[in-house]
Symmetry: C2
DNA sequence: CTAAGTGTACTATGCGACTTAGTACACTTG
DNA sequence: CAAGTGTACTAAGTCGCATAGTACACTTAG
């Protein structure tokens, strides 16, 4: 699972959303798999059930999961939702590059940073 | 100058801070140059003077500008502040790459995005 | 059928960040 | 002296987030 950082200033509901998006993007959770119940996850994170419910509502509106009354919430099997996540990740990164460019960083500097990070990946 | 986006959710004071940081990073404003007065900038942006004052206080704490009672605020001539801005930009970009990596984007994908953006720069 | 567990909806409350408003003071400059 | 500057302070309002509590409809295991 993932961790919550209550001191980060990032809304808890957003952290839960991003946490599951990552888990799905990395294939740790897969389509059709059952999500933790709203109440159990709230208990696990020591957080209000309403907060988890809000996160689940966001995930459902994004097509990442779907919910069934009385049964539970499940990871969506629709591939389009997964593609949308990838697209959003690209868009976010696009914005980050634009910002870096606006601050005068060269493309070489950015490439160096990327290589540094992905080099570590290969070590694993 | 730069624009404010009141609908973005980003605090106005932060937008002002980032705006001047960019102006200095790009060399549009230079060390020793006088900043707009708190009141005049507030008028120009149709914003409360306190909000501009807050932004200036942040800029001063970061060494980007310095203020003199009764005279005004001026762009710092200390090069260390400029270097710190560059370092922060790198750190922010580092985080963006980490996030993209966490979502499964390959280094090639990121490089493509960078090339796309910096290609446009050369056109100008 | 019953009980437990599920998603969902609603209101009320507290808290903190941000912004605005207004006032005041010390300083510099023309 | 007057105007403009930075600075400091209190008060109020708005907004988003999180919590608390309750309630209802549904499904499933027993």
């Amino acid at each position: 699972m993932f961790q919550l950082d209550l001191k980060s200033g990032v809304p808890i509901s957003d952290q839960i959303v991003n946490g599951f998006i990552k888990l799905k993007a990395l294939g740790i959770i897969k389509g059709g798999e059952q999500m933790p119940s709203v109440r159990s996850l709230a208990l696990k994170f020591s957080v209000n059930p309403n907060t988890v419910q809000k996160a689940y509502a966001i995930l459902e509106s994004g097509g990442i999961i779907y919910s069934v009354k009385g049964r539970g919430s499940f990871v969506s099997e629709d591939e389009r939702a997964h593609l949308a996540v990838i697209e959003k990740a690209k868009t976010d990164f696009y914005g980050a590059v634009k910002t870096a460019q606006g601050l005068g960083l060269s493309s070489d500097t950015l490439s160096e940073i990327i290589n540094e990070i992905y080099k570590e990946e290969k070590k694993c």
